[in-house]
């Protein structure tokens, strides 16, 4: 096979028609306060893990809510469960509970 140097890029769009949204729905059902997130970013701003790695809690849980589970398990594993995010969250979301639940639900991914 001759390598002509061409590749095929996969589409970057989040496809809400083909994504499996059931797992996301199970997560909301268990922790409905996650739905109250208004994306202020306080959690990420204060995150101990985020200070030294690329971990972005807000972005990862938003992707999970859209059915994008790809790297969520590995990302959530960066969390050290220190709980500072929960202290700063203006909506009072149980952020550590979200981390643990997402890891539990996505263990298979």
């Amino acid at each position: 096979m001759i390598d002509f140097g061409f590749g095929v890029n996969t589409a970057r769009a989040i496809n809400m028609d083909t994504n499996d949204l059931d797992t996301a729905r199970e997560i909301f059902d268990r922790l409905p306060d996650l739905q109250a997130c208004m994306a202020c970013g306080s959690c990420t701003a204060t995150c101990t893990a985020g200070a030294i790695t690329s971990f972005n809690f807000r972005k990862v849980h938003t992707l999970v809510r859209r059915g994008e589970y790809g790297e969520a398990y590995a990302e959530m594993s960066k969390c050290m469960l220190c709980g500072k995010c929960r202290l700063v969250c203006p909506r009072g979301i149980n952020t550590r509970g979200v981390v643990l639940l997402i890891k539990k639900k996505l263990g298979d991914y």
Binding site: I14, M16, D17, K59, T62, R66
Partner: protein, 333 residues
């Protein structure tokens, strides 16, 4: 003393009631054959789902009980210093309150969303009408399963000369999303927004309950285009700006939250009197504070959405304020 009120929506009706209470003789001039204006198009009102008729009917009853004069199906052609000229002749008065309101943004101008072209793309006003008629259904009569709301249609949009924020569409989108959840408990409901502006009492709480109790999904990003797909569905594209990736999805129904645009009669008021309009073509009040219901002319006043987008409650407040100002002005004559 005789005061003409142009427009018989909530602002006009309340101005008339308040002026009557202050001992004056208001006359409402309404171009349609019925009073109530845009409130007639609403089913329930935010933020506590008050039936719209529960607001309008008692006001209309008071109007009848107090025998306030109403000239329906009458168009005001010009405002003059001693009254107004209408399609039925001159009405003399000592002061005029302009309560001519707003127009709904024409969603067909945003062709990229396909309103009037694709089935199942409707406006927030159409949805209220469906609820008033007691039936929400797709064009083929079936129930929607996946519903998207798009905020800011005809607001904050230079392409259609609507720079302003229409103020009430955010909360309307949240209200209607909750109503859709009640009509269709197993549906998926998404609101595409750029900013959520929950300025009023109970609005933020309503937004939170939409998220948490009603499972409405909020995606930050403006839908860039809608396209028809097989089976009458609509494919929409947006950016999920919170994760920085494009997003696409197929929905059964797309609801456009149309904004308030300046009333088409405003240019007439400007031409005949020397009053002026703001950049967004709403009438310009004397100032934004102490003179917010006064115009640049001493005998002409404003109340309601003629000067900017407002809620029902704010329009009612302005009506009361305008009546007080008119009464104070009449004292000086």
């Amino acid at each position: 003393m005789k005061v003409t009120i142009i427009g018989g929506g909530v602002a006009g009706i309340q101005t008339a009631l308040a002026l009557k209470g202050l001992g004056h003789d208001p006359v409402i001039i309404e171009k349609e054959d019925t009073l109530g204006g845009k409130l007639r198009g609403w089913h329930r009102l935010f933020p506590v789902m008050t039936p719209a008729r529960d607001v309008l009917e008692p006001m209309l009853k008071q109007l009848r009980d107090q025998q306030i004069e109403v000239m329906a199906s009458t168009e005001v052609q010009a405002i003059e210093s001693d009254g107004v000229v209408t399609s039925r002749g001159k009405v003399e008065s000592r002061a005029t309150v302009v309560c001519s309101g707003f127009d709904l943004f024409d969603a067909t101008l945003k062709e990229e969303y396909g309103y009037g072209i694709y089935d199942n793309v409707i406006t927030s006003a159409d949805l209220e009408q469906m609820m008033n008629n007691g039936k929400i259904a797709l064009a083929d009569g079936t129930q929607p399963h996946r519903i998207a709301f798009l905020h800011c249609v005809g607001s904050r949009d230079e392409k259609v000369q609507q720079r302003h924020c229409s103020k009430v569409c955010c909360v309307t989108g949240v209200k209607q999303a909750i109503e859709m959840r009640r009509w269709f408990p197993h549906s998926e409901i998404y609101n595409f927004y750029m900013d959520i502006r929950m300025f009023g009492p109970g609005y933020e709480e309503m937004y939170r309950s939409a998220q948490q109790e009603h499972g409405i999904q909020f995606i930050r990003g403006r839908i860039s285009e809608a396209a028809p797909v097989k089976g009458g569905k609509v494919q929409i594209k947006a950016e999920d700006t919170l994760v920085g990736r494009p997003l696409k999805m197929t929905v059964d129904m797309l609801v456009l939250l149309i904004g308030m645009t300046a009333g088409c009669s405003n240019s007439r008021w400007t031409e005949c009197t020397g009053l002026s309009q703001s950049d967004s073509h709403f009438m310009r009040p004397l100032d934004m504070f102490e003179g917010n219901v006064r115009s640049e002319l001493p005998n002409v006043f404003y109340a309601g959405t003629v000067t900017s987008p407002k809620t029902i409650g704010e329009s009612l407040n302005e009506a009361n304020a305008a009546a007080m100002r008119v009464a104070a002005y009449l004292e000086t004559l």
